[in-house]
Symmetry: D2
Subunit: 161 residues, 4 copies
Amino acid sequence: MNDQMIIGVMGGGQASAANIQTAYELGTLIARQGWILLNGGRNAGIMDASARGAQDHGGITIGILPDDTTRRVSRHIQIPILTGMGDARNYINVLTSHFVVACPGGTGTISEIALALKNKRRVILLSFDTGGIFDDYRSKGLLFTAATPEEVIKIIKDLMA
Amino acid sequence: MNDQMIIGVMGGGQASAANIQTAYELGTLIARQGWILLNGGRNAGIMDASARGAQDHGGITIGILPDDTTRRVSRHIQIPILTGMGDARNYINVLTSHFVVACPGGTGTISEIALALKNKRRVILLSFDTGGIFDDYRSKGLLFTAATPEEVIKIIKDLMA
Amino acid sequence: MNDQMIIGVMGGGQASAANIQTAYELGTLIARQGWILLNGGRNAGIMDASARGAQDHGGITIGILPDDTTRRVSRHIQIPILTGMGDARNYINVLTSHFVVACPGGTGTISEIALALKNKRRVILLSFDTGGIFDDYRSKGLLFTAATPEEVIKIIKDLMA
Amino acid sequence: MNDQMIIGVMGGGQASAANIQTAYELGTLIARQGWILLNGGRNAGIMDASARGAQDHGGITIGILPDDTTRRVSRHIQIPILTGMGDARNYINVLTSHFVVACPGGTGTISEIALALKNKRRVILLSFDTGGIFDDYRSKGLLFTAATPEEVIKIIKDLMA
């Protein structure tokens, strides 16, 4: 049965040490719940750190790569999906995720938040301030804010209950 | 020679009467410049209005459809490109455009602005307030603001000069 | 109104002199009918030759590129659509075409014939022997064979009648 | 480390009882090797049967769905990847697979064989006669023929050695 939770973790290919640490902790907690972690799969920033956290704690990690080769895959991704479709793969990232967690990032991450909300995936912003641009989606029950990885997990579990 | 300008016009499938009128005028001015108008191709909102403006004034109009059928194509689109790829087609919209004009819209339009900037396409916001979220791109010379269709054309011509 | 015919011309990036000549003639005849020519857009083989034939005779030419840049676009393509999606763009080629003409090619062309038939687009093989692999589709009225560009045009016109 | 083998199993959504049985056995043997099984993910034909065989024997199963919902997912797919891209997902199927096994199928399967060979993935035809159309790839060491699931496994292991 495909009833296992898939949590998409989005965020920048470049990230501060603090955000790297937070992404690692988020990956850790996702694995401890028995959930699958999905991200963009590259060996950089939030992608690499969140996959490392999940893999270090026995979780399944899936990376949806923009590339048609494995050259830039994080070594903490157990299952690299090669799309060869560049940023069009962002659409796959959000469709496949039951919940999307957005860590601080740039335009790639913003495009994923936008596509997730458009496709009715619930998005949790983790220490990522996107201004008021998506605020309409808070009252629709699609957009949430968390300050820590623990809060992310709590929000997801409350929504699943 | 493929040296003809392609201007991408993004914006909501739902739009106010004022925004519909502005999109029609923008399409008109794009056609008068001899430029090709590209948009998301559907028979709704900014897409339909901008295509109508361009077609009424002899311009070529291209629609990059999310669908695998022509059922929702605007009748003002001369060349409907059927992608069958849902919102993944937003990536094609921005890659193909020499300049992207963003009229007021929702998450689809925001995803297109984000993907355009990520892929170094210049974006002109036409009466669309996105908060400060993309402000870094102003100083990089990729993001511009216009209050009228005439201003959009002037910005593009200045950048081409 | 988007009632203009779009004819997809598929075929190899590498092609014999005879096949190049045939593709040029096919492009010529498509343009003379007032039809739009669509192909894979690259500056090579059947793509370049068919676009050249159409453009030399006043036709609109559209190229659906696998790339995210214009570096490999044929200069005979008026409208290059940049997909950035590699061979996934083959699906767009066939969905967008009212009829698909398959000139001799390799695995790329075969994938396009297969996807066209799967999506109920009519395919005309022009001097391209694909063995018996697609023969079921002849009796379904989806697969046709032509020996010359003139025959291709005749088959299409008969089917439109 | 992402050094786990991913075997793509392609084949028709409609299949004979014998082919269903063979696909189940192939899935079984793939799981027993500790390899990941990837397919098109739908609850039909070769896809469903091969996933069932793998899952019954403890294997990881990944489905690359054409859809943007889980409505047609096989319940034997542990990880459904929703692409929302229709047949364009065939490109992802073959890029992601280290080896592609083609069971009897129709135009979808043929498009996958063609795209796999074009992208230098090795293809093993399992009781699937494609005529001579791909024969050039035998001498290039990319195309192989097997009569049983056991033979498929032997060919893959020989190629890995």
